[in-house]
Symmetry: C2
Subunit: 215 residues, 2 copies
């Protein structure tokens, strides 16, 4: 029974790690679709999201079954409780990749972003990919020092978000209002992606240390 | 013990209803602050959000204690499980009201929106207020028919969101890129507010009927 219980907890952590891998693929492919105006890839990101959603639902149900049947306490209770919240954040990160992909689909066959901003979005995609990979490692190792790494990628995303704001608001902006809105929304999706990773990292710290988390 | 347990479940529902009331105040005041360029009111929305956050944390902790100590099954388990998710959505709705208030603070003493769009934003605020009030009633009564009401307010928010998009993209738009972005983001906050209400309604249906929810 105890061993079974410990296997159950372990399998939830494993599923969270699988979720981070799927979210990593989603944000990488969404970025690539954005940079290449690749409709097929955008479509694939949109369709693959159901796997992430299913994992979220499955994790939630198993966490509650464990809570009800095993009455976990202390770290185990925080793990079960935190896993539901982490799964919700990861599911939302998948949605943000889908939002990017849908924007590509909406504008196809036109490009979604002006050429001169491709470099900034490529950098955002790379930071988003790094932040979700680091999130997976934090969940796996529960190494709270790694959480600092997440913070630094999030800072990069925030900086790039501000850069894009500056670009669309500059006097040199020559692409009109619609493109400015598109860039702002796309940029915001990446920026929110980073925020959710920070939330996950805080949850892991809470699981490990019992220190209060903020949201 | 049983009575105590039933009181615990009831008190969680009561706290969710309190959350909807606080979120209702937040979105109403945020809208008013937006329409009046009222910095003091915006500030009050931002500061009051901690009460909503605290309720969310408290509900989550009590739900888990109940799950661990009482091993609820069937409807009770769905209630405990769903309440955590509902609290998360309500907390996020509070954040969206804060986003609107922060936008008012950012642009103050300038107006946040062009005068000719005030009517549309007033309508958005009214729909958002109605949707959160209906959400409170759905949580209280578990009347799944009321969920249709939520859907109809959400449709209104989506329509107004599209209207604002059309306005900022029209050839008549005379307020430049920054104002277009501000309007788009503000409009999106209201639109997302509605989406979260729909999510809550789906959760309540799931609690009552056990039918699968989607996200």
């Amino acid at each position: 029974m105890r061993e079974d219980y410990s296997n159950q907890l372990e399998s939830i952590t494993q599923d969270l790690i699988v979720m981070t891998a799927l979210v990593g693929t989603a944000i990488t492919e969404a970025t690539q679709a954005l940079l290449e105006d690749n409709l097929e890839l955008a479509q694939s990101v949109i369709e693959s999201d159901s796997r992430i959603n299913d994992l979220n639902v499955g994790i939630e149900e198993r966490c509650f079954r464990i809570a009800a049947l095993q009455a976990p306490v202390a770290t185990d209770l925080r793990l079960v409780m935190g896993s539901i919240k982490i799964a919700t954040s990861l599911e939302r990160m998948g949605d943000l990749a889908v939002h990017i992909a849908k924007q590509v689909r909406l504008r196809y066959p036109n490009p979604s972003i002006p050429t001169e901003l491709a470099g900034t979005f490529r950098e955002m995609g790379a930071s988003a990919q790094k932040i979700i990979a680091a999130t997976g490692r934090v969940i796996e190792t529960r190494d709270t020092d790694l959480a600092d790494e997440i913070k630094s990628y999030d800072d990069t995303l925030d900086r790039l978000h501000r850069e894009l704001f500056t670009a669309v608001l500059s006097d040199d902006w020559a692409h009109g209002v619609e493109a400015a809105i598109d860039v702002t929304l796309l940029s915001r999706f990446f920026e929110r992606f980073g925020d959710h990773a920070v939330t996950v990292a805080r949850r892991v710290i809470h699981i490990v240390t019992g220190e209060p988390y903020t949201k």
